[in-house]
């Protein structure tokens, strides 16, 4: 059996050995797992994974190499890849490069040969926790120190790390609805889906003020996905609060949580989050079930503080901006997956209709979204 040359150490001292296969050095952060069986490159480059080490439950990772089409942003954001059986193959028909070569070039440490199922069961039972990936040479004591020095995920503003420093604009000039994005780490797929429907998209740093955004006179404001704890983003929440009612506001993932907080609803940390491509979500308006792409560690509380929604009814919240109605519910753990504001234009979903990676069942939401903008206009 290949001698271990690296190891994963968790906050609680649990250790998993493996073989180093990415960039040198160590990585610390929150250790999470994703159950998607394909789309490893999309996940690594999804800014929502900033500050996290991804354990892939599917054993073989890297089979079809890497390609520019699979980039969800311009670089990997996850801090490390934890795998059972990584491989590096340029010779796959569609590949522009090898997976491990790419990780190394991007400076991302990775480990293979890890009993990822045991790791995942540990996290499932005890919850996502801080941890790190370390070279075999690093002593556990030293490793512990490094983990200690890493702030816990709850309360972390990671959006600041991933948000752009300047505005960027996409889509042909002066046609189509103008959408201003508060970019807390948007995935390329979201921009692609909006552009594909003829929208003009401007990506703004998440520090942009409401006044600055309103000055652009967009047809709608879009709150993107992103990493970290929504509770740590009060400055963005404040901005959103000033926008609600003035402009139609739509959000996905972190954006969903930010809008919820902006209208006075609460969010909480899930034990180990939803990360994968197979969660069933029910659209309460059509009764249809979508298989969804998921990537979040926090969720919105239901009416009167309930973490889960018992029945498949479009239950309602009283918000600071009138009533909000549940639009989508997760059939795995019955958490809130989306809502609509009834008295002001706006709505959100917790999951990822843009896929990348994952199923396309929910792309219709982008149509719905643009239809609503048209109606509001």
């Amino acid at each position: 059996m290949t001698v271990p040359s690296a190891y994963v150490l968790l906050d609680d001292g649990t250790r998993f050995d493996g073989v180093a296969c990415g960039a040198d050095g160590h990585a610390v952060g929150e250790v999470v797992f994703t159950t998607g069986m394909s789309g490893y490159q999309e996940s690594m480059t999804d800014p929502s994974f900033a500050g996290q080490l991804i354990a892939f439950t599917y054993p073989h990772i890297g089979n079809y190499g890497v390609s520019s089409e699979a980039m969800e942003s311009d670089r990997p954001w996850a801090r490390a890849a934890i795998m059972r059986e990584a491989c590096d193959r340029e010779d796959s028909p569609g590949a522009e490069g090898g997976w491990l070569r790419w990780l190394t070039d991007c400076g991302v440490p990775a480990i293979s040969g890890v009993d990822t199922r045991a790791l995942v069961k540990h996290i499932r039972d005890l919850g996502a926790m801080r941890g790190g990936l370390f070279p075999g040479a690093t002593s556990e004591a030293e490793a512990r120190g490094l983990i200690e020095s890493e702030p816990p995920m709850a309360g972390q503003d990671l959006a600041a790390e991933v948000t752009p420093t300047t505005v960027s604009r996409h889509g042909e000039a002066d046609t189509g609805p103008k959408i201003a994005v508060l970019d807390t780490g948007i995935k390329g797929s979201m921009v692609r889906e909006l552009l594909a429907r003829g929208a003009r998209v401007a990506l703004h740093p998440c520090t942009t003020t409401a006044a600055e955004l309103l000055a652009e006179d967009p047809d709608a404001v879009f709150l993107s996905n992103g990493p970290g704890d929504p509770a740590a983003l009060d400055y963005v929440v404040q901005t959103v609060r000033e926008l609600v009612g003035r402009k139609p506001v739509w959000g996905i993932c972190l954006g969903h949580q930010l809008l919820c907080r902006a209208v006075g609803l609460e969010t909480f940390k899930l034990p180990f989050g939803h990360r994968g491509a197979n969660h069933p979500v029910k659209d309460l308006q059509t009764g249809r079930i979508e298989i969804t792409s998921q990537n979040h560690g926090f969720a919105a509380l239901g009416p009167n503080g309930a973490r889960t929604i018992g029945a498949d009814e479009p239950v309602r919240w009283q918000t600071d901006f009138g009533e909000a109605q549940l639009s989508h519910v997760n059939l795995y753990d019955r958490t809130v997956e989306g809502l609509e504001l009834l008295d002001v234009p706006g709505g959100t979903v917790q999951y990822h209709p843009e896929a990348g990676p994952g199923p396309h069942d929910s792309l219709y939401l982008f149509d719905r979204f643009l239809r609503r903008i048209a109606e509001a206009a």
């Binding site: 193959r89 059939l331 896929a355």
Partner: protein, 1055 residues
């Protein structure tokens, strides 16, 4: 039968279970007695009747069902449902078609409609043309180009299809295709040979919610039927983007075809370079692949399809694996599943051992591992090959050239080449196999141990990659890096109750089929009823035994000694049962006992006494029973010497076989010499010249497999064969003997005879291939008495605890013992259903400690059954799939399935069995008779009866004279040599309705061979023994007198 095996018993059983839970009354029709679904407990009314519109219409008229569910019974059921709709039966009786509506079935099965539907949905398919005549096919050539794919409409497993590489091939294939297609239509497809082949298992509910249960990638690219391909789940080589496009298209297909509820299998061809996707076909029903997908993911497709069919929505059904999530999701897995087909070309000399678009494998093994390497290597050893190929001396070039046209041993060749360091590119160039697979294979080739580094632990198949805790104990073993300090992280929830481990039968193969799975399932039921945990070990994804509902804990593992011992170590069972899975577990008995595993039932010592030719022979002599003189020979010289003392004709065979492998009748010294030259090659490393006794065998198996603790050694991948000296058995062949099969129970002190079966064909036709009747129709009371006594004495003398099967031959009024199998036999399910006594269950109770006295068995008529019905078992033969093989029965077993006919009299039961086997006897027309000289005298009886039934009799000269001499009008027909119009012309023209042809000894490509081949090709009933001829003639006469036979309900027969 090939293309439709145990998987539909699995799906049918699941359907029966859930529909009953839902409170529906179930009427079940199936002609196969070796199925769990035909157990009287599973349905309210069970009809073992031919799956033809006539009988089924009778059942419908009799039972007045509200609905017909055809989507769980494979192509047969779909075609039947279509016929019953077309002939108005369903409408007449107000029966609703559920699962898939008529239009959906028609759309998916009729390539023309399907193509149109795909076009409407904007989905691409290969360029194609429909031909109803040869001319139309030729016209299409310029557009499609060569090679092109020929596929007859509405046939099973691609039967009659193929790849036409040039025009002559095209003409031949089209001609055959037009014949086998029930609607006389073939489809010509532009070839996409070498593209990737993918399958998606799709489920849709009445609210139009659709989920993909599993993706399956064929390691063999397009051109090898999915049933013959090595396949892997989930798909390994597609990017997420490309996979999601497949997913979108699969969903579009099921909607376009209009399958409202249930599961479908959609097949795609993908060009990895251009990322083009083409739809190949969809099956609007549960399929072989869906059985595989169910076992691979833990998502019970058939069960859920049945619920959907009666109106449930996916979200309303629980995922019983987690117990907390709904069935409306897509399983995600954290392991790899590999399926290997099992072939039987060696049994069909004369047929080319090549793989193509029509399915030829007879079974499959599935393996689960944490990595592809683990799964692939486990699957390799799960196949249990009789003769692992040894390619050591074949040159690189020869091996590479051999890959150009895929054959059953292509992966052994690839592994050998990789071991020798041949470049992946060179292999890819010839096989178009994705380089990812090839580089994974290289690792295995270089070091067969590589996948098994680390520590073995049992993990759960949980549908969710551990995101939720699993409730259902369905396990596989994987090898992991040991955790620092921590013990092996088994996930087995053992509980406190004592457990009994039941070893399954492994992959279906000729000689060891679904019958043995039936017995294992019955054992599991019995163990559970006894208050113990039933633990199943098996690696066959098609079966009911590998349904996680069947046992308390299921271990999906290969059936080799060290794999089984690993299970025994975690289970610490009260006992291990080796009697029900055929030869597979029996071979392990000694090794298991040696390792201290507690075997239940017949002891290793007793097994050896029955299986060791020498010891058994001595026992017979001691008890004073006759047996055919025999000898064992280790060398050609020996053999030729001993032959003289034993005396010709001889029945010769290698010592290791099951199902009569390589068994032949030789009439002379030359014949023997010829046989020996084929079966005793000088090469000392002849892999399978293993000792005959199960004891030595298992011991060999044991050390072949390294120490139990150790990781599997390369023998277990079947890549290297154990060495030992060959042995050949010589038996005096008893001519014109009546063969008798007996199944009996014994508790060590008392014996109960379950069933005595008289074979229709004479001894010399393998018991697995000959029709047999229960109760015997022509053995006198005196002989029956002798048989009972002999069976009793043998069972006690051997020391059987459980089941014993004895085969006898009655020769010139004398009883001879042919062999005794100290285990459940092929005929146990048939006997159980004929007699109405569940033999396997009772045997299991005996093994668990009960006495025969405790079983309150019916007294008297022992072995003859109860009630006034007669049961006939008939074999289903696959000759039509092995072009060029001789369709004649012999001592080597060739059948791939069996059917049962039950009636008030023998002829009617025989006729039912023939119809069920797919060759219904004609009611009139022309009978062609040509028999060997020894049969000429008897031929007249057949002719007479047929003549009285109004048949025109035609015969070749010799036979014609013999018949005419007895005063039966007969018309002479030219032999093939005697110039046209000769026999073949008659058959080809369709002027013959029944062929009676008994072979003239051996000799390939004789007239007889030509005649039988033609008959099979044209689907004309062809009887190859006089005995069967007589039965057929009587059956025809009876049918004329009584008309369409009445259908019988099992529950009423055994009331």
């Amino acid at each position: 039968m090939i293309g439709q095996a145990a998987e539909f018993d699995y799906s049918g059983v699941q359907a029966c279970k859930v529909l009953r839970e839902e409170g529906y009354e179930i009427v079940l029709v199936n002609s196969n007695p070796a199925t769990i679904m035909t157990d009287p407990e599973l349905a309210d009314a069970t009809y073992i009747e031919p799956l033809l519109p006539g009988p089924v219409a009778q059942v419908i008229a009799r039972e007045r069902p509200d609905a017909l569910l055809p989507t769980l019974g494979g192509q047969t059921a779909l075609n039947l449902a279509k016929a019953l709709h077309d002939d108005g039966t369903l409408e007449r009786h107000g029966v609703e078609l559920i699962g898939a509506n008529y239009d959906a079935i028609a759309c998916a099965e009729d390539r023309e409609l399907f193509g149109a539907a795909m076009a409407r949905a904007g989905l691409a398919m290969p360029e194609s043309a429909i031909a109803r005549t040869l001319e139309q096919a030729i016209e299409a050539l310029p557009r499609l180009g060569l090679p092109c794919i020929v596929r007859p409409a509405f046939t099973l497993g691609g039967r009659g299809g193929g790849i036409a590489r040039d025009e002559p091939e095209l003409r031949a294939l089209v001609a055959r295709g037009l014949e086998v297609s029930p609607i006389g239509q073939v489809l010509l497809d532009q070839s996409v040979l070498g593209w990737g082949e993918f399958e998606l298992e799709v489920m849709r509910d009445g609210a139009d919610n659709v989920v993909i249960v599993c993706s399956i990638e064929n390691v063999d690219p397009m051109g090898v039927h999915t049933g013959d391909s090595v396949t892997v789940a989930p798909q390994q080589t597609l990017t997420d983007r490309l996979y999601q496009r497949l997913r979108d298209q699969a969903i579009a297909v099921i909607r376009a075809v209009g399958v409202e509820t249930g599961g479908s299998n959609v097949q795609f061809a993908v060009n990895p370079e251009t990322e083009e996707i083409l739809v190949i076909e969809m099956n609007p029903r549960v399929s072989r692949s869906s059985a595989l997908a169910s076992k691979a993911t833990g998502f019970p497709i058939a069960k859920i399809a049945a619920r959907l069919a009666v109106g449930y929505r996916l979200e309303e059904i629980d995922n019983d694996i987690t117990g907390v999530t709904p069935a409306c999701f897509e399983p995600t897995i954290d392991y790899v599943v590999v399926k290997w087909p099992r072939f039987a070309f060696e049994k069909f000399p004369g047929t080319a051992a090549t793989l193509s678009t029509h399915m030829k494998s007879v079974g499959e093994a599935m393996a689960i591992g944490r990595t592809f390497g683990q799964a692939f290597a486990k699957a390799l050893r799960s196949r249990e090959l009789d003769k692992p190929p040894c390619l050591g001396d074949v040159s690189d070039q020869a091996l590479l050239d051999g890959l150009e046209i895929p054959g059953p041993e292509r992966f052994e060749a690839i592994l050998e080449l990789l071991r020798r360091g041949v470049a992946v590119e060179a292999i890819r160039a010839r096989t178009a196999i994705d380089p990812w697979f090839l580089s994974e294979l290289r690792t295995i080739a270089e070091d067969p141990e590589a996948p098994f580094q680390g520590e073995r632990s049992f993990r759960s198949v949980d549908t969710c990659a551990a995101e939720f805790p699993a409730r259902t104990p369905y396990y596989y073993s994987g090898w992991e890096r040991p955790r620092a300090g921590g013990a092996a992280s088994h996930e087995v929830a053992r509980g406190e109750r004592p457990s009994v481990v039941i070893l399954g039968a492994g992959p279906n193969r000729i000689g060891q089929g679904i019958e043995f799975d039936y017995c294992c399932v019955h054992a599991a039921m019995t163990v559970r009823e006894s208050g113990r945990d039933a633990v199943m070990v098996n690696c066959n994804p098609e079966t009911v035994s590998t349904d996680y509902d069947t046992s308390d804990r299921l271990y999906f593992e290969p059936l080799t000694l060290q794999d089984v011992l690993a299970v025994v170590r975690v289970e610490q069972p009260e006992g291990v049962i080796v009697q029900f899975g055929g030869q597979t577990p029996l071979k392990l008995a000694a090794g298991l006992a040696a390792a201290g595993a507690p075997l239940l039932g017949t002891s290793v010592e007793a097994i050896d006494l029955a299986e060791d030719r020498g010891r058994f022979g001595a026992l017979l002599a001691e008890l004073g029973y006759k047996a055919p003189p025999y000898a064992t020979a280790g060398s050609v010289k020996d053999a030729l010497e001993h032959a003289e003392s034993v005396g010709y004709p001889l029945l010769v065979r290698p010592s290791y076989v099951l199902g009569g492998r390589a068994m032949e009748i030789v009439y002379s010294r030359d014949g023997l010499a010829d046989y020996l030259s084929r079966e005793l090659p000088p090469d000392p490393s002849d892999p399978d010249g293993s000792p005959s006794s199960s004891l030595e065998k298992a011991v060999r198996g044991a050390d072949g497999q390294g120490s139990p603790e150790g990781s599997p050694s390369s023998q277990n991948t079947g890549l290297q064969a154990p060495r030992s000296t060959p042995a050949i058995f010589l038996d005096r062949f008893l001519e014109d003997a009546t063969e008798v099969d007996v199944d009996a129970l014994c508790d060590g002190a008392e014996v109960w005879i379950g069933g005595i079966m008289q074979h229709v064909e004479e001894a010399g036709v393998h018991s697995g291939d000959s029709a047999c009747v229960l109760p015997p129709h022509s053995l006198g009371e005196e002989m029956l008495g002798q048989i009972r006594d002999a069976t009793r004495e043998l069972a006690l003398a051997i020391g059987v605890v459980g089941l014993l099967n004895v085969q006898y031959a009655v020769h010139a009024g004398e009883l001879y013992v042919i062999e005794a199998n100290p285990r459940a036999s092929r005929t146990v399910p048939f006997v159980s259903k004929a007699v109405g006594v569940p033999l396997a269950k009772l045997a299991c109770r005996i093994m668990l400690g009960e006495r025969i006295a405790d079983l309150d068995l019916p007294a008297g008529r022992e072995g003859l059954g109860y009630g006034d019905h007669v049961s006939v078992k008939e074999a289903v033969l696959p000759f039509d799939r092995f072009e060029g093989s001789d369709a004649v029965l012999g001592p080597e077993m060739r059948s791939t399935g069996e059917v049962m006919g039950i009636a008030r009299d023998f002829p009617t039961a025989f006729a039912k069995a023939q119809a069920a086997a797919g060759v219904p006897l004609p009611s009139g027309g022309t009978a062609f008779i040509t028999v060997t000289d020894s049969d000429k005298a008897g031929a007249f009886a057949v002719a007479q009866t047929l003549h009285d039934s109004g048949f025109r009799i035609v015969a070749t000269r010799g036979t014609a004279e013999a018949i005419a001499r007895m005063g039966v009008p007969v018309q002479r027909l030219n032999k093939i040599g005697e110039g046209s119009p000769h026999v073949l012309d008659w058959i080809e023209r369709g002027d013959v309705d029944l062929v009676v042809n008994t072979p003239t000894g051996s000799g390939a490509r004789t007239d007889g061979w030509e005649i039988r081949r033609a008959a099979v090709a044209h689907g004309i009933p062809c009887v190859t023994t006089l005995a069967a001829g007589v039965s057929a003639a009587r059956a025809i006469a009876r049918a004329q007198a009584n008309g369409e036979p009445e259908v019988l309900c099992l529950q009423e027969l055994h009331r």
